[in-house]
Amino acid sequence: MAEKEKTKIMFVMRKAAHGSIYAYEGLEAILIMGAFEQEISVVFIDDGVFVLKKEQDTKPLGVKEFSKTFKTLEDYDITNIYADRESLEQRGLTADDLIIPVKVMEAGEIAKIMEVQHVLLPF
Protein backbone atom coordinates (compact mmCIF):
# COMPACT_ATOMS: atom_id res chain seq x y z
CA MET A 1 0.00 0.00 0.00
CA ALA A 2 1.39 3.36 -1.01
CA GLU A 3 2.04 5.71 1.88
CA LYS A 4 -0.30 8.65 1.92
CA GLU A 5 1.47 11.80 0.80
CA LYS A 6 2.23 14.24 3.58
CA THR A 7 0.53 17.62 3.47
CA LYS A 8 2.88 20.56 3.12
CA ILE A 9 1.86 23.34 5.50
CA MET A 10 3.86 26.51 5.86
CA PHE A 11 3.48 29.03 8.65
CA VAL A 12 4.17 32.57 7.49
CA MET A 13 5.19 34.62 10.55
CA ARG A 14 5.14 38.36 9.92
CA LYS A 15 4.15 39.84 13.27
CA ALA A 16 6.39 40.93 16.12
CA ALA A 17 6.25 39.31 19.53
CA HIS A 18 4.37 40.45 22.65
CA GLY A 19 2.58 43.50 21.16
CA SER A 20 0.06 41.05 19.74
CA ILE A 21 -0.64 37.40 20.40
CA TYR A 22 -0.38 36.20 16.78
CA ALA A 23 3.19 34.92 17.04
CA TYR A 24 2.39 33.03 20.24
CA GLU A 25 -0.84 31.50 18.99
CA GLY A 26 0.97 30.73 15.75
CA LEU A 27 3.58 28.81 17.73
CA GLU A 28 0.82 26.89 19.54
CA ALA A 29 -0.55 25.86 16.15
CA ILE A 30 2.90 24.85 14.88
CA LEU A 31 3.46 22.61 17.91
CA ILE A 32 0.11 20.86 17.55
CA MET A 33 0.57 20.31 13.84
CA GLY A 34 4.15 19.20 14.34
CA ALA A 35 2.90 16.26 16.36
CA PHE A 36 0.96 14.85 13.40
CA GLU A 37 3.66 13.84 10.95
CA GLN A 38 2.87 16.30 8.22
CA GLU A 39 5.47 18.35 6.39
CA ILE A 40 5.54 21.57 8.40
CA SER A 41 7.75 24.54 7.57
CA VAL A 42 7.99 28.03 9.01
CA VAL A 43 9.13 31.26 7.41
CA PHE A 44 9.87 34.51 9.22
CA ILE A 45 9.28 37.68 7.22
CA ASP A 46 9.12 41.37 8.16
CA ASP A 47 8.56 41.89 11.91
CA GLY A 48 8.22 38.13 12.23
CA VAL A 49 12.01 37.86 12.45
CA PHE A 50 11.82 39.71 15.79
CA VAL A 51 9.99 36.72 17.28
CA LEU A 52 13.25 34.74 17.21
CA LYS A 53 15.44 37.50 18.69
CA LYS A 54 17.81 36.12 21.33
CA GLU A 55 17.86 37.39 24.93
CA GLN A 56 14.15 38.05 25.35
CA ASP A 57 13.36 38.61 29.01
CA THR A 58 9.63 38.96 29.59
CA LYS A 59 9.73 38.72 33.39
CA PRO A 60 9.54 42.49 33.95
CA LEU A 61 6.54 42.61 31.61
CA GLY A 62 4.76 39.67 33.25
CA VAL A 63 3.95 37.75 30.09
CA LYS A 64 5.12 34.36 28.79
CA GLU A 65 8.57 34.09 27.27
CA PHE A 66 7.89 31.70 24.41
CA SER A 67 10.80 32.31 22.04
CA LYS A 68 12.71 29.46 23.71
CA THR A 69 9.90 27.09 22.78
CA PHE A 70 10.94 27.43 19.14
CA LYS A 71 13.94 25.28 20.11
CA THR A 72 11.61 22.33 20.52
CA LEU A 73 10.62 22.42 16.85
CA GLU A 74 13.63 20.24 16.17
CA ASP A 75 12.11 17.51 18.36
CA TYR A 76 9.12 17.50 16.02
CA ASP A 77 11.42 17.19 13.00
CA ILE A 78 10.47 20.69 11.90
CA THR A 79 13.74 21.78 10.40
CA ASN A 80 12.58 23.72 7.38
CA ILE A 81 12.79 27.11 9.03
CA TYR A 82 13.48 30.13 6.86
CA ALA A 83 14.01 33.84 7.32
CA ASP A 84 13.90 36.60 4.74
CA ARG A 85 17.35 38.14 4.38
CA GLU A 86 16.16 41.66 3.72
CA SER A 87 13.76 41.63 6.68
CA LEU A 88 16.68 40.75 8.96
CA GLU A 89 18.94 43.33 7.37
CA GLN A 90 16.42 46.18 7.64
CA ARG A 91 16.13 45.39 11.34
CA GLY A 92 19.86 45.28 11.93
CA LEU A 93 19.79 41.55 12.60
CA THR A 94 21.73 38.54 11.35
CA ALA A 95 21.16 34.81 11.79
CA ASP A 96 23.44 35.01 14.86
CA ASP A 97 20.89 37.18 16.64
CA LEU A 98 18.26 34.44 16.43
CA ILE A 99 17.53 31.82 19.06
CA ILE A 100 17.39 28.93 16.57
CA PRO A 101 19.25 28.23 13.34
CA VAL A 102 17.32 29.40 10.29
CA LYS A 103 17.98 29.27 6.58
CA VAL A 104 18.38 32.89 5.51
CA MET A 105 17.10 33.34 1.97
CA GLU A 106 16.15 35.92 -0.61
CA ALA A 107 12.47 36.69 -1.17
CA GLY A 108 12.51 34.99 -4.56
CA GLU A 109 13.81 31.73 -3.09
CA ILE A 110 11.25 31.85 -0.30
CA ALA A 111 8.47 32.48 -2.83
CA LYS A 112 9.51 29.29 -4.65
CA ILE A 113 9.15 27.28 -1.44
CA MET A 114 5.78 28.91 -0.74
CA GLU A 115 4.51 27.91 -4.17
CA VAL A 116 4.85 24.18 -3.55
CA GLN A 117 2.89 24.26 -0.30
CA HIS A 118 -0.62 22.93 0.10
CA VAL A 119 -1.51 25.59 2.66
CA LEU A 120 0.00 28.89 3.86
CA LEU A 121 -1.01 29.95 7.38
CA PRO A 122 -0.32 33.57 8.36
CA PHE A 123 0.57 34.61 11.92
Binding site: V12, I45, D46, L120
Partner: protein
Protein backbone atom coordinates in the same frame (compact mmCIF):
# COMPACT_ATOMS: atom_id res chain seq x y z
CA UNK B 1 0.00 31.82 -6.15
CA UNK B 2 -2.80 34.31 -5.40
CA UNK B 3 -1.80 37.11 -3.05
CA UNK B 4 -4.51 38.70 -0.90
CA UNK B 5 -4.27 42.09 0.77
CA UNK B 6 -6.81 43.64 3.13
CA UNK B 7 -5.00 46.60 4.71
CA UNK B 8 -4.58 50.15 3.47
CA UNK B 9 -1.23 50.57 1.71
CA UNK B 10 -0.95 53.99 3.38
CA UNK B 11 -1.04 52.44 6.81
CA UNK B 12 0.75 49.08 6.64
CA UNK B 13 3.61 47.52 4.72
CA UNK B 14 1.58 44.51 3.56
CA UNK B 15 1.31 45.53 -0.09
CA UNK B 16 4.99 46.38 -0.20
CA UNK B 17 5.96 42.97 1.16
CA UNK B 18 3.55 41.23 -1.17
CA UNK B 19 5.10 42.92 -4.19
CA UNK B 20 8.55 41.87 -3.02
CA UNK B 21 7.56 38.19 -2.92
CA UNK B 22 5.06 37.95 -5.76
CA UNK B 23 6.33 36.34 -8.96
CA UNK B 24 5.59 37.99 -12.30
CA UNK B 25 2.14 36.88 -13.37
CA UNK B 26 0.88 36.10 -9.86
CA UNK B 27 -2.58 37.60 -9.41
CA UNK B 28 -3.21 40.01 -6.52
CA UNK B 29 -6.60 40.34 -4.85
CA UNK B 30 -7.33 43.56 -2.97
CA UNK B 31 -10.26 43.58 -0.56
CA UNK B 32 -11.40 45.39 2.60
CA UNK B 33 -9.13 48.41 3.20
CA UNK B 34 -6.69 46.88 0.72
CA UNK B 35 -8.77 48.41 -2.09
CA UNK B 36 -7.51 51.91 -1.27
CA UNK B 37 -4.51 50.89 -3.39
CA UNK B 38 -6.57 51.19 -6.59
CA UNK B 39 -7.36 54.87 -6.10
CA UNK B 40 -5.76 56.94 -8.85
CA UNK B 41 -3.59 59.96 -8.11
CA UNK B 42 -2.14 58.88 -4.78
CA UNK B 43 1.45 58.67 -3.61
CA UNK B 44 1.45 54.92 -4.15
CA UNK B 45 0.22 55.20 -7.75
CA UNK B 46 3.75 54.71 -9.19
CA UNK B 47 4.21 51.48 -7.21
CA UNK B 48 0.78 50.28 -8.30
CA UNK B 49 1.39 51.11 -11.95
CA UNK B 50 4.55 49.09 -11.75
CA UNK B 51 2.67 46.24 -10.08
CA UNK B 52 0.00 46.35 -12.80
CA UNK B 53 2.66 45.68 -15.43
CA UNK B 54 3.62 42.44 -13.69
CA UNK B 55 0.42 41.21 -12.09
CA UNK B 56 -3.27 40.91 -12.80
CA UNK B 57 -4.72 43.08 -10.02
CA UNK B 58 -8.27 42.48 -8.79
CA UNK B 59 -10.31 44.50 -6.31
CA UNK B 60 -13.65 43.63 -4.73
CA UNK B 61 -16.07 46.13 -6.21
CA UNK B 62 -18.32 46.17 -3.12
CA UNK B 63 -15.33 47.31 -1.06
CA UNK B 64 -14.34 49.90 -3.68
CA UNK B 65 -17.87 51.35 -3.82
CA UNK B 66 -18.28 51.33 -0.04
CA UNK B 67 -15.23 53.59 0.20
CA UNK B 68 -16.39 56.03 -2.47
CA UNK B 69 -13.45 55.21 -4.73
CA UNK B 70 -14.54 56.41 -8.18
CA UNK B 71 -11.21 57.13 -9.87
CA UNK B 72 -9.81 53.63 -10.28
CA UNK B 73 -6.36 52.99 -11.74
CA UNK B 74 -6.50 51.74 -15.29
CA UNK B 75 -5.99 48.00 -15.61
CA UNK B 76 -7.49 47.01 -12.26
CA UNK B 77 -10.24 44.38 -12.53
CA UNK B 78 -13.20 45.26 -10.32
CA UNK B 79 -14.85 42.00 -9.38
CA UNK B 80 -17.13 40.22 -6.96
CA UNK B 81 -16.63 37.35 -4.51
CA UNK B 82 -17.51 34.81 -7.18
CA UNK B 83 -14.47 35.99 -9.12
CA UNK B 84 -12.41 35.82 -5.89
CA UNK B 85 -13.52 32.21 -5.46
CA UNK B 86 -12.64 31.55 -9.09
CA UNK B 87 -9.09 32.71 -8.48
CA UNK B 88 -8.81 30.56 -5.36
CA UNK B 89 -9.93 27.58 -7.45
CA UNK B 90 -6.87 28.08 -9.59
CA UNK B 91 -4.25 29.21 -7.08
CA UNK B 92 -2.70 28.51 -3.71
CA UNK B 93 -3.56 31.51 -1.49
CA UNK B 94 -0.85 33.61 0.14
CA UNK B 95 -2.45 36.09 2.56
CA UNK B 96 -0.47 39.19 3.54
CA UNK B 97 -1.71 40.20 6.96
Amino acid sequence: MLHTINKSPFFSNNLESCLKFAKDGDPIMLYEDGVYAVLAGTKIEPAMKDALKKHPVYAIEADVKARGITKVLEGVYLCDYSCFVGLVEQHLVCPWF
